[in-house]
Symmetry: C2
Subunit: 118 residues, 2 copies
């Protein structure tokens, strides 16, 4: 199996974009469209997932905190413990969500992830 | 002008890949092929630059510490104070440079950038 990331602790931003994300039951929940990166600190803040309209969700992109993803070597893909239900209930995006600290707070709180800016 | 990143402090990993990098004299020095990201911490470690063989450099990719880049809104591109001479003298890559802490140390020391892992 050609591993995108091998066992390395380091990933390539080109390989991340388009990579599948699986749920804890082994079902594919979507794929990563792109990451958002805080420029000055060089911190990855969100992985923005897309679902290709498959689930009929009301929006095109679902940002989830990067820390909610882990890499599964055997699948050569990312795995998350976020359920479909949880994703559907997540804070809705708006055009400037990625530079809206209040929005980021709501998202990180919703997913119980420590703020990346503290 | 259609700004890739506007004035946001946050950049999109898709927009970063392929973005031009200019030197302090305003000359284009290359472009960003991809970023390397430490998976667990979500820290961007290097921007890997390419030069399309134009300069006849002895290798295809030149990783530079992310902190050596700043974003110039007026150019809608990245700017670095690294000179061509400095780039040519930088530590040469090898197949596993991105997971080789000793190599990373040499590179960060060479460019006088604080280690991202401390």
């Amino acid at each position: 199996m050609d591993q995108k990331f091998a066992s390395s602790a380091v990933v390539n931003s080109k390989d991340v974009n388009g990579t599948a994300v699986y749920g804890i039951e082994g079902e594919k929940v979507g794929e990563i469209d792109h990451l958002t990166i805080e420029k000055n600190s060089g911190t990855v803040t969100f992985a923005v997932m897309t679902f290709g309209g498959f689930l009929g969700f009301g929006q095109d992109e679902y940002p989830i905190p990067w820390k909610k993803l882990s890499y599964d070597v055997s699948k050569d893909a990312f795995v998350t413990d976020i359920s479909e239900e949880q994703l559907k209930g997540a804070p809705r995006t708006h055009p400037d969500w990625h530079s809206d600290r209040e929005w980021e707070k709501r998202s990180f709180d919703y997913f119980s992830v420590p703020y990346y800016w503290m």
